[in-house]
């Protein structure tokens, strides 16, 4: 009789950021095994506001929320995807979300690239690995990734990919690009820290 205890799996997280209406929730929903859940950011705001005395714990009337999804890889490994709320009003949430994150997908819309700048700035400054995903609404590709790279001026090693937030396979590919990028950086850091070649 298998009467083994349920064990708590190891949990990792990836953030999905970008301007309002750029496709964050759609992206999370395309790949999540659960219907994306939404925790009321107002609840969060009140809680954190009391914790950090400088934030007035006013009851927010906003319905802006922290969306998240989940992918279970095995009974011992789970990935959470967090759609980040707007940085202007929920900046205090970002440090919390970024802590320990594998990395971030910054979704950009080429018609309003500037909307993605706060997220790009944030992850660059915090040294969080990120990729830029250009959401091709309705399959329209208005610009190439090279044009976007020039426009947003991110480092050459930051991947920039065209993708479709509604297509599971496309989101999956983008996730893989991010994890590969984060892994590459972690390996480089490991080599630098140990002062030798990477283990075979």
């Amino acid at each position: 009789m298998p009467s083994e205890r349920v064990r708590a799996p190891l949990a990792l997280k990836i953030l999905v950021a970008g301007g309002f209406g750029v496709g964050k929730t759609t992206t999370v929903g395309s790949i999540s095994e659960i219907e994306p859940l939404s925790t009321d950011a107002a609840m969060t705001e009140v809680a954190e506001g009391i914790d950090a005395a400088e934030l007035t714990p006013h009851k927010s009337e906003t319905t802006a929320a922290l969306d998240f999804g989940r992918i279970t890889f095995a009974d011992d490994l789970v990935l959470y995807l967090f759609g980040t709320p707007g940085q202007d009003r929920f900046a205090f949430m970002w440090d919390e979300l970024a802590r320990g994150a594998v990395g971030a997908i910054v979704i950009a819309d080429t018609r309003r690239l500037a909307d993605s700048f706060p997220a790009l700035d944030y992850f660059e400054q915090r040294d969080v690995p990120f990729v830029v995903g250009i959401n091709c609404f309705d399959g329209i590709r208005l610009h190439t990734s090279a044009q976007v790279r020039e426009a947003v001026s991110v480092d050459d090693d930051v991947p920039i990919e065209l993708f479709d937030a509604r297509a599971r396979s496309s989101v999956k590919d983008l996730l893989a690009v991010l994890v590969e990028h984060a892994l590459g950086r972690a390996r480089t850091e490991l080599v630098a820290a140990t002062g030798g070649p990477p283990p075979a």
Partner: protein, 116 residues
């Protein structure tokens, strides 16, 4: 009157529940997954505690607990921290700060994502 405390229940009640504390010992990240180890609770345990222990017969993260039970994230953290200290809940590991462990984890994650 608009000052009626009954009309602003969200501001005090959650932290009465936690004895005024806003952080658990573990300072758990949102994605940390917990599971119930021992479902026996003292008589008089707060309903929120009972609900968390019941929910976590299956593994759930801090943020999922808050969402499903409609509790504040900060409150869930404190309660889960206490319940973990008491051995009622077990917490899974989250991202390691050790580089070699991190590399290994990311390798596993990459393998998993590619196989989706």
């Amino acid at each position: 009157m608009s000052d009626d405390p009954l009309r602003t229940p969200g501001l005090t009640r959650p932290y009465v529940l936690t004895g005024g504390r806003t952080r658990g010992a573990a300072d758990l990240p949102l994605e940390a997954v917990v599971v119930t180890e021992r479902a026996t609770l003292p008589i008089g345990a707060a309903p929120e505690v009972v609900a968390i222990v019941a929910l976590c017969r299956a593994p759930y993260s801090i943020v999922e607990i808050a969402t499903h039970l409609r509790l504040h994230l900060g409150v869930v953290r404190v309660l889960v921290g206490d319940l973990t200290d008491q051995g009622v809940l077990a917490v899974g590991v989250t991202a390691s700060s050790r580089l070699d462990e991190r590399v290994h984890l990311l390798e596993r994650l990459l393998e998993g994502v590619r196989a989706l």
